[in-house]
C-alpha cells in the first residue's frame, strides 16, 4: 500500500542517519556541563554531530538550527518557551530530534508559533517527544522526506481561533506521520498541499475541530488511526486519491459532527474502517467516484448522509448495524450504487440460501427524510406510528429517492472490523542512547 518512492527515500534517510550517528562527534549539554545551553552546543556543532541534551529544564527562547544534526534528549530534558516563544526552528537537510519535552509555547494571534518547526527541510525524524501546551506543536512547512513518529501532544485548546494544530503540514511531500497521540488542539493533524504522504497508527482525540484534516492534498494514504471524540473525526476536502483504510472513527458527537467529512474529494477508497457512535458516520458532499467497501457503521445517529452532487460512488460489502438511521440521501437522481451491503434492519429472507436477500432493501427511511425537514420530529423516533410510516414508504416510495436501493442485501455481515490505533500515548524510553535509537529508527521504517 505504501507508495514505492516513499519507501525508497525513507530507507535512504535511515542509512544516512546511521552514518551520522556512527561518524559524528557527541556534544553533551547539561545545566552543570561546560556546555550548558543548547544554543551554545549548536553553535559549536559541525554537521553530522550529535547534541546530547541531559536531564534539566532549558529556557532559551527560540532556538534556531540551520545545521544537519542529531538532537537527542536523555532523561527527558524540558525545553520551556515561557509561554511566549516558538522553541525549535529548524532548517536542515538531515535532522533527527528525539526525547524532549517541549512546553509552554503560548498562544499567539499574530504568528503561528510552534514547538518544533521544520522549514524547507528534508530527511528528518521527529520522534519520541512530548509537546505540552503548545500553540502549534509540530509544524512542517515546505519540507519533504520526513518522519514524525511516536510523539505525545497535549494542548489546552479552548476555542478554534485561539488554538493551533498538533501536527501541521503545509506544502510537504513524502512525510510519514506515525503512532502519535494527539489531543487538545484545533486539528490533530492538518495537511494542506501535502502529497504522497502517509498517516498511520495515530490516535487523535478531544481535538476541537478535526482529528485529521486534508486540504488540497492528493495521493495520500491514512490507515490504522483512531479518531475519537473530536469536533469531527476526519475532514477530507478538495483532494484526490486519498485512501482510507482500517481507521476507527468513534464518538464524534455534536450538531455539526461527523466521523468522516468528505467534501469535493474524488477517486478515493474508503475501506475497512469502523464508524462507531458518531452523530453522523460519514457526511459526503460533491464527491465522485469514491469506493466504500467493507466498512462497519454501528450505533451512529446516521451511518451516512449523502448530500448533493455525489455521483458514481459505490457502496458495497459494508455493515450497517444498529444505527438510528442508516442512510440519508438528500437529493434524488444521483447514480450511486448501494448493492451488496449488510443491513441489520433488513427484514427480507433468503430462500435460495445464497447469502443474498431475495428482496431488495431500501436503506433510506421516510422518517429520515421527515427529520431532515422537521428536526423536532426526532422525538417520535422508533414510535409505532413512525414504524408504520416507514413501512408504507418502503412498500411504495414517494418521498425518498427511488434509486436508493440495495438489490442484493447480504444476509451476514462482512467480517474484518478495523482495529485502529491501540496504544495510547508514546513509548518514550528515557534510557535510550542516540546510536541505539537510530538503529531502532532504521528498523522501524520498513
Amino acid at each position: 500500500m505504501l507508495h514505492p518512492h516513499i519507501i525508497k527515500t525513507l530507507t535512504a534517510t535511515a542509512f544516512l542517519m546511521m552514518a551520522v550517528a556512527l561518524q559524528g562527534r557527541v556534544i553533551e549539554v547539561c545545566p552543570e556541563c561546560p556546555v550548558s545551553s543548547i544554543s551554545e552546543a549548536i553553535e559549536l556543532a559541525q554537521p553530522c554531530d550529535t547534541v546530547l541534551v541531559k536531564k534539566g529544564t532549558y529556557s532559551e527562547g527560540n532556538i534556531l538550527i540551520g545545521k544537519d544534526l542529531t538532537l537527542f534528549g536523555e532523561g527527558n530534558p524540558i525545553l520551556d518557551g515561557g509561554g511566549n516563544s516558538e522553541i525549535l526552528t529548524i532548517h536542515s537537510q538531515f535532522f533527527h530530534i528525539e526525547g524532549f519535552t517541549i512546553q509552554n509555547i503560548g498562544t499567539s494571534y499574530t504568528q503561528d508559533r510552534a514547538g518544533i518547526r521544520m522549514k524547507e527541510s528534508q530527511n528528518f525524524t521527529i520522534k519520541n517527544n512530548r509537546l505540552l501546551d503548545a500553540f502549534f506543536a509540530i509544524y512542517l512547512e515546505k519540507s519533504k522526506d520526513g518522519v514524525v513518529e511516536n510523539n505525545f501532544v497535549l494542548g489546552q485548546a479552548e476555542n478554534e481561533a485561539g488554538s493551533g494544530n498538533a501536527i501541521h503540514l503545509w506544502y510537504c511531500e513524502n512525510i510519514i506521520v506515525k503512532d502519535n497521540h494527539l489531543a487538545g488542539h484545533r486539528d490533530g493533524i492538518y495537511l494542506e498541499f501535502v502529497d504522497n504522504s502517509r498517516v498511520t497508527g495515530n490516535i487523535a482525540e478531544n481535538n476541537l475541530r478535526y482529528g485529521l484534516h486534508f486540504m488540497f492534498s492528493n495521493d495520500n494514504f491514512y490507515h490504522h488511526n483512531t479518531f475519537r471524540n473530536n469536533g469531527a473525526g476526519v475532514a477530507v476536502m478538495y483532494s484526490r486519491r486519498i485512501d482510507m483504510f482500517q481507521n476507527v472513527f468513534e464518538k464524534n458527537w455534536g450538531a455539526a459532527s461527523y466521523g468522516l467529512l468528505l467534501k469535493e474529494i474524488h477517486d478515493s477508497r474508503i475501506e475497512q474502517n469502523s464508524f462507531l457512535e458518531n452523530t453522523v458516520g460519514i457526511f459526503t458532499e460533491t464527491s465522485n467516484r469514491l469506493t466504500y467497501v467493507r466498512n462497519t457503521f454501528a450505533h451512529n445517529g446516521w451511518a451516512m448522509k449523502i448530500s448533493g452532487g455525489c455521483q458514481q460512488n459505490v457502496l458495497t460489502q459494508n455493515n450497517f448495524m444498529s444505527n438510528s438511521f442508516d442512510l440519508a440521501v438528500q437529493i434524488a437522481g444521483m447514480d450511486n450504487n448501494y448493492d451488496g451491503n449488510f443491513w441489520s434492519d433488513y427484514s427480507g429472507y433468503d430462500l435460495d440460501r445464497d447469502g443474498v436477500g431475495d428482496v431488495p432493501h431500501r436503506p433510506m427511511k421516510l422518517f429520515s427524510y421527515i427529520v431532515t425537514r422537521t428536526p423536532e420530529s426526532i422525538v417520535l423516533m422508533r414510535s409505532l406510528f413512525v414504524d408504520i410510516l416507514n413501512f408504507s414508504e418502503k412498500v411504495s416510495p414517494i418521498f425518498t429517492p427511488e434509486n436508493v436501493v440495495d438489490h442484493a442485501p447480504k444476509m451476514k455481515q462482512t467480517s474484518g472490523i478495523a482495529q485502529g490505533a491501540e496504544t495510547p500515548g508514546p513509548k518514550i524510553d528515557p534510557a535510550a542512547k542516540p546510536g541505539h535509537s537510530l538503529t531502532q529508527n532504521a528498523l522501524t521504517i520498513k
Binding site: W302, M381, R382, F385, V386
Partner: protein
Amino acid sequence: MLKILKYSFYDLIRSRWTYIYCGFYLLFTLSLLWLSSDLSKVVISLMNVVLLLCPLIATMFGVMYYYNSREFTELLLAQPIRRTSIFFGQYLGVAGSLSASWLIGTGIPFILYGVFGSAQAGNFFTLMLVGVALSFIFSGLAFLIALNNENRIKGFGLAILVWLFFAVIYDGLLLLSLAWFSEYPLEKFSLTASMLNPIDLSRILILLKLDISALMGFTGAVFRKFLGTGFGMSVSLIVLTLWIILPTLGIRRVSLRKDF
C-alpha cells in the same frame, strides 16, 4: 390494603394468562438473544415490544380483572374494609403481577446472558423500568375506565381506544402538527407533547440512551439542554412518576363516589 394486594396478586399469578404473558416474554427474549449476538439489537426489539405490548396487555388485564372480580369486589365492599384499600389493592395486584411477569420474562434471559457488566446494562435497566412504569400506568388507566363504565363491552372498547390513542394516534397527530407548524420553533412544543403521552415519554427515556448519537445532532438549545445533560433524564422520570400517580388519584376519586 396489603392483604387485598396480596390476594389479588396471588390470584393473578396463579392465572393461566399471567403464565402465558410471562412465558411469551421469556420465549421472545430468549429467542432474540439466541438469534442475535448484538445485545443492543435485542434491546431495540424489546423496546418496540415493551412500548406496544406492556400498555396493551396492562390495559386489557386491568379491565378484565376489574370486571371479572366485580362480585368479589362486592363481597369485599360489604366487609369492614376501607373502599380505597380494596381498589388500590386490586390495582396494585394487577400492576404488580404484570410487572413481575415482565421482569421475570425478560430479566432472567438477560441476566443469564450476562447483561450486568456489559455495555448494555444501562439500557437494560431503563428498559426494565419503563416496562414496569407502563404496566402501572396503563393498568391504572384501565381500572379508571372500568370503574367509570358498568358496561363491559363499552369499558373494554374505551380502554382499547385509549391504548390506541397513546400508542399510535397521538404520535400521528403530533407529527402532523410538527409538519404543519414547521416554520415555528417547535423544540419546547415537541418535548412537552412527548411528555404528555406516557408511551412517548418511555420511548424517549430509552432513546436518551440508545440513540443519543443521533439526538446530539440537533442544534437547538432546548434540545441540547434536555438531551445532553441529566436534565432530560430527571424530568422524564419525574413526569413518568406523575403519570403513575395520576390514574391512582383518579381511581381513588371514582371509587369513593361509586355505587355497587
